[in-house]
């Protein structure tokens, strides 16, 4: 088997000298959709942030497309083909939807074909191009965050809890859009507390518990695993 698109080995990271995640091994192959599930505080965000260089890792390696990401500052990571969408979204509230999207393709000018893809996935964004991002509803902001990320034409899209702050209907809708993107061949790594949605979308999954990978396997198997069902599916 050739080298996966993303290969994380032995990754540890944390805050103020105390590791929150320990010895994480994780891979994502091109075309795959992989989910990381776990309860609040399990270390999902810490793991994603340290993979992207937003938080210095204390040990381990992160290889993406043959490049060692730990040597790169975060803004270089974002230009290497990975795009990270944090749960807080970090949009530019005082700038228009169009400007937010355009910045997604920085340092290049926005590609019209890619804009088309974003509009097709999120028609609402096209309706609101001239509106400031800060005036959008929660669901629309989430669409814009993903849309902005897509403008970079990522080979790997990393999403941290894309359903944060969304009503159940909107969360369903968001995952609908993601499965459309998946059909388009996008590689996705998504961390999620809404375990059923994430397992339904993904090919494979990792269960993160107290900063360690507790379990991994195909999503269909995880969905039937008694431990997982008890802990995360409430069955």
């Amino acid at each position: 088997m050739s080298e996966p698109l993303l290969a994380v080995e032995g990754l540890s990271a944390g805050y103020l000298g105390e590791d929150v995640i320990h010895d994480i091994d994780l891979t994502v192959a091109t075309g795959e959709v992989v989910c990381v599930i776990g309860s609040n505080g399990a270390g999902k965000t810490t793991m994603l942030r340290s993979m992207c260089g937003l938080l210095p890792a204390t040990a381990g390696s992160v290889r993406f497309d043959g490049v060692d990401l730990r040597r790169l500052p975060s803004h270089r990571v974002m230009r290497s083909g990975i795009v990270y969408v944090p749960a807080e979204r970090h949009l530019f509230p005082g700038m228009t939807v169009a400007e937010n999207l355009a910045l997604g393709s920085y340092p290049k000018r926005p590609d019209p074909a890619q804009l088309e893809i974003v509009y097709r996935t999120f028609p609402r964004l096209q309706e609101r191009l001239g509106q400031n991002a800060g005036t959008l509803s929660g669901g629309e902001q989430q669409m814009l965050a993903v849309g902005r990320a897509l403008m970079a034409e990522p080979s790997l899209l990393i999403l941290d809890e894309p359903t944060t702050g969304l009503a159940p209907v909107l969360a369903q809708e968001a995952y609908g859009a993601l499965s459309e993107l998946r059909e388009g061949g996008l590689t996705v790594l998504v961390a999620e507390q809404q375990v059923p949605l994430a397992l339904e979308l993904s090919d494979r999954g990792y269960v993160l518990d107290h900063g360690r990978i507790a379990l991994t396997g195909p999503s269909s198997e995880l969905a039937t695993d008694p431990e997982v069902r008890k802990a995360y599916l409430g069955i």
Partner: protein, 284 residues
């Protein structure tokens, strides 16, 4: 009356441009550049020294402006780096105090080496009649220069990739990083740009009255007031505040008196902070 208004407008444009430079640097990195006015004076002094030695005016002016662009870049790359590593209030305080020190250094050097140097770019020729009002040539050129530079700035921030990237860092630094923008590089470029804007203001001031080597502190205070009234971090706010305060300052100085007019300016700054803190504290 109309002549006073026009003087006020020219002063206002100059204030506005100073405020824009200050507000940009604050918006990007939380640094209140208390040496902003001194940087403007450095540009003027470089140009004046070169002209004393016989350099052509245009060349001397360009060299003066470029020298403070370079000064801004150097300050950002060296002194400001530890500041950017700090967070929130500590960052603001450290940046402010360090730039206060830089202001002393610049003023100290100027006072020591060039205490009586002054830059004058007086534009020769009598006043020009515009719609029946006699306006000094210097005022016309000065406002034209600032108008063109201001327009260029607006286009830059609205339509260029780098201009948008700059605004995005002011809006949300983390978000900018997620888009692949290097906030550190943006800050360095804009610190240089801010210095250049200050230099341009000094040059336009020299068109109507000499810029002396001790003018720095006064310019810094004006820039600070304008930036505060406009809302720290907001460029359009700073420009608008500059124009309003320039008019207010000139009119009240003409009709009431200089000291009262400076108290009015200061009151404007203080009351903006007190009455509209939500607008001002947006990025604090």
């Amino acid at each position: 009356m109309v002549a006073v208004l026009i003087d006020g407008l020219v002063l206002g444009l100059q204030f506005g441009m100073l405020g824009v430079g200050l507000t940009l640097v604050y918006g990007l990195g939380g640094v209140v550049n208390l040496a902003h006015g001194q940087m403007a004076v450095v540009a003027a002094m470089v140009a004046a020294r070169l002209m004393d030695r016989g350099t052509a005016t245009a060349l001397a002016v360009a060299a003066g402006i470029l020298s403070v662009v370079a000064l801004g870049v150097v300050i950002d790359r060296t002194l400001m780096q530890p500041v950017y590593r700090e967070r929130s209030e500590h960052r603001v305080l450290l940046g402010l105090l360090l730039m206060l020190g830089v202001g002393f250094i610049i003023d100290g050097v100027l006072e020591w080496r060039y205490p009586i140097e002054a830059l004058s770019l007086r534009i020769t020729g009598g006043p020009v009649e515009v719609f029946g009002v006699a306006i000094r040539r210097g005022s016309i050129v000065a406002s034209a220069v600032i108008g063109v530079v201001g327009l260029a700035l607006i286009l830059f921030f609205r339509y260029t990739t780098f201009g948008r990237a700059t605004r995005s860092v002011i809006e949300d630094e983390e978000g900018a990083r997620l888009c692949g923008i290097n906030p550190g590089a943006v800050r360095t470029v804009i610190f240089g740009l801010s210095g250049g804007l200050a230099g341009i203001v000094a040059m336009t001031q020299a068109m109507t009255s000499p810029v002396v080597s001790t003018a720095g502190v006064g310019l810094t205070i004006f820039a600070l007031i304008v930036a505060v009234v406009g809302g720290l971090g907001s460029t359009s706010g700073a420009f608008l505040a500059g124009i309003i305060l320039g008019l207010v300052n000139t009119l009240s100085a003409f009709y009431i008196g200089t000291f009262v007019s400076s108290i009015i300016l200061l009151l404007a700054a203080a009351s903006t902070i007190l009455l509209r803190p939500e607008g001002l504290l947006r990025r604090a």
